[in-house]
Symmetry: C2
Subunit: 217 residues, 2 copies
């Protein structure tokens, strides 16, 4: 195997890894990540090829490898920020807010993300489906911590009688499942509904009704 590790590498230096980041670097890294999101989300990690990514980015394969040390590194770079982006709406859930409105707002924001960021959703789904080999750690640490924390908030709300008594963990799962379904299974949903309307447009009022009925004491 190639054991040669380029010691003088990229941003992973813990200390002063100050790198001015050329204009061309910024542009091309962006193009690569955008192309990689397109290809990885459509074919999975194993199903995507560097040639596809390079073509999609409008660069040559060696040029892509000039900006990222490996295919794996591109994938990691994509997943790196994804978990945070993905959980940002949940983080915003305010313990001081009105319980039902807070949960509904979270659900709406997640549904909106399924419409506006379906590729990110599918990238994530691909990763989890195959056992989360590359972000498994983040799931049982960051993710679990955040969910447990918000579940505690929900339990408080329930104890105060401001919310119908439901299992808070499964409530959060249900929001994930119901919203991401429209991004991840888009082809199936569209095949069933037939051509024309945006599926999420019909989903929105349904989910409003569903969660209102579920959460009203």
């Amino acid at each position: 195997m190639a054991e040669e590790q380029n010691a003088q590498d990229f941003t992973e230096d813990g200390d002063e890894g100050k790198r001015p980041l050329t204009r061309i670097q910024k542009v091309n890294r962006g193009k690569i990540l955008e192309a990689a999101l397109e290809v990885f989300s459509a074919h999975g990690f194993r199903g995507a090829t560097l040639d596809q990514i390079a073509a999609e980015a409008g660069l040559s394969k060696p040029n892509v490898l000039y900006y990222f040390p490996s295919k794996e590194a591109i994938h990691e770079a994509l997943l790196a920020g994804l978990l945070d982006i993905w959980l940002a709406p949940l983080r915003k859930m305010d313990p001081e807010g009105e319980p039902r409105e807070e949960i509904m707002r979270y659900m709406r924001r997640k549904l909106e993300m399924s419409r506006e960021m379906p590729r990110e959703s599918r990238l994530f789904a691909n990763e989890v489906l195959q056992g989360a080999p590359r972000i498994g750690a983040g799931l049982s640490t960051d993710l679990k911590t955040l969910v447990d924390e918000k579940a505690a908030v929900i339990d408080t709300w329930i104890a105060q009688g401001r919310l119908a008594p439901v299992d808070p963990h499964h409530l959060i799962f249900s929001i994930w499942a119901l919203t991401q379904h429209y991004a991840d299974f888009d082809v199936q949903v569209r095949a069933v509904l037939g051509p024309g309307k945006d599926p999420i447009e019909g989903a929105a009022p349904f989910l409003e009704l569903l969660f209102t009925r579920l959460l009203t004491p």
Copy 2:
């Protein structure tokens, strides 16, 4: 080892292809399909290799190709019956039955399938996630027909006032999303809940509550 009686001795070829199917053939085809289900569901079509399947089945690669003409053919053989198996519970939904009980029964059966056939669920999810390149046709024909038919039944029930008014298509989607989530995103669910209990055990009462609240007029 997992000894699953893959009762799928398929004698297709409406033509003259009526070989009696040797005992060894039955056994080895079963071993290959079982192994392929394991590997395809875990890594996707592109991510799975014939060597993996052969190793999992305890056969040599050329031997695997003796029973199936190609990797593609193995995958197709798996998907062939899957859509039917997958939709069987929906087919059983009885227009003459008690509306809420019929829908609850369907939901329960789907949840049960997530527990007992998670690999099939993930195989299906993998296929749909990547645009359903191999069963796309079946989605907009068989699947759409069945769902439209059952949606009409649900609409009738609603018109009779025996069910709360909800969009029947999205109701069916919600059952799919909520139940399959526990199979497809198993790693994530377990990471969040922590080790120990079976996630589906906790999901069952939650889903009972959710759909009861949603469907009661």
